[in-house]
Symmetry: C2
Subunit: 264 residues, 2 copies
């Protein structure tokens, strides 16, 4: 008798909207996600999430467009393990972490598709999830990223800065002197490589980051700030640091922003 | 008598699908673009395009979902000026180029919205268009990037490589020795910064690039190849260079691919 292997389920990376923790009415799901992606999300029974509560809120919005295949209460929503302090990018080298990730992928080994979702945008980019994706590849589970909004790429496209060569460097140090040093390092790198440098900040620190940029970047460096992309009142403003200084703008403390610079 | 300024139109960056020049049935537009974006595209009368012919094909697909506000023949579709050989990133420093770009933006100055679209994915990213966006900012024309698929970010998310720090470096040199040198330079940069390096290639050279990577990258470096994302038969495969060598894969010569490496 020959035992046949059950077909594996796939790991779907499901994009979320960009309105996490923002004030005001959230946009219509159909304005930011393809209908095909909403349909996919509606039929998934197994979820791994950055945050279970925001995932349930997302699935309620899905249900209003395409009825969920199962009642919300019947879905399995398991949170990703939180990264330990000081470990920016957990990898499978951590044996304990790997066991946890394999347990999260058990439904796929049993033939069921899994959805991975973060609080905003594409999972595993500027967000947890990469370690789970890595574990899926190691288990030969198919990984399928579904298209949706990415604040990083929308900000880059709308900036008018170099889109042929760019880097995303995450968060800058919070400590003032370290932050200034990092800004100057990124500006020098941008000049040397002709590369747009993208970064993000916790929203309540957006205004402070902008202040630091205007105080310490070269006047000829071009700076682009995108605030609240895909949301009402969202904008992208690009100008030289000199022009920003002449016409400063305030940034909301409760709306996510993306900062991009290209040394002039 | 006081003359009032007419309200300016906006420059909308309209995402295209990822099936440009690929064989097989293109995906349903609603599987890859939000319905709100399709509706936006259907009402725009003024277009600036990387390619007018592919833009008309795109608008026919739009029309099949949401009827165009005007017949296709009545729309204005003007092609972006082609970059001169050897000028990777035309800027407004070129006075001639700036005149051309201002002419393309004339409808916005007269109060009409303009759509900017490339042959695939988001305009102005790994594609022409950034100079037009830059000119729009200089004229205080609002720039709004609409959400849609980006092969770069879908590939990065699906790779399981570091999504907290990554760079897109465009194309590698074609000449063999220069290509090897560049690959080693990117691998060293990836090791030093812990940064995922993303690159693309003209599809008919995909297999040659993969060969060069397997021949010259460190065995412990992790390599991810995404081919035909959002298309039937598309896949993302991530493994160490050593594992790739043990189980090589062939890449289609007519399907776009994204390559990502993270030094091990």
């Amino acid at each position: 008798m020959i035992a046949t292997m059950p077909a594996l389920g796939a790991l779907y990376l499901v994009p979320n909207t960009l309105d996490f923790a923002t004030p005001g009415e959230p946009p219509d799901l159909r304005d930011v996600l393809p209908l095909g992606v909403i349909r996919h999300a509606a039929r998934l029974r197994h979820w791994v999430a950055e945050n279970a509560k925001t995932t349930r809120a997302f699935l309620k919005r899905v249900d209003a467009v395409v009825a969920l295949g199962q009642p919300l209460q019947a879905l399995s929503i398991i949170e990703l393990p939180r990264p330990r302090k000081g470990v920016a990018h957990p990898t499978s080298k951590n044996a304990d972490g790997l066991d946890v990730l394999h347990a999260l992928l058990a439904p796929a080994l049993a033939g069921h598709d899994i959805g991975l979702i973060s609080e905003a945008g594409l999972p595993a980019i500027a967000d947890p999830g990469a370690a789970l994706v890595q574990a899926a590849h190691a288990l030969v589970i198919e990984v399928i990223a579904l298209p949706g909004p990415s604040s990083l790429l929308l900000a880059l496209a709308a900036s008018g800065l170099n889109g042929q060569s760019f880097a995303f460097v995450g968060y800058l140090p919070v400590e003032a002197q370290q932050r200034i040093a990092r800004l100057r390092e990124l500006e020098a790198l941008s000049r040397r490589l002709g590369q747009t440098q993208l970064m993000i900040e916790t929203p309540y620190r957006n205004a402070a980051l902008l202040d630091a940029m205007l105080a310490h970047l070269n006047p000829a460096t071009r700076l682009s700030v995108s605030s609240g992309l895909t949301l009402a009142g969202g904008f992208t403003h690009t100008a030289s640091v000199a022009a920003w200084r002449a016409n400063p703008r305030t940034l909301a403390a409760d709306v996510p922003a993306v900062f991009a610079l290209l040394a002039g």
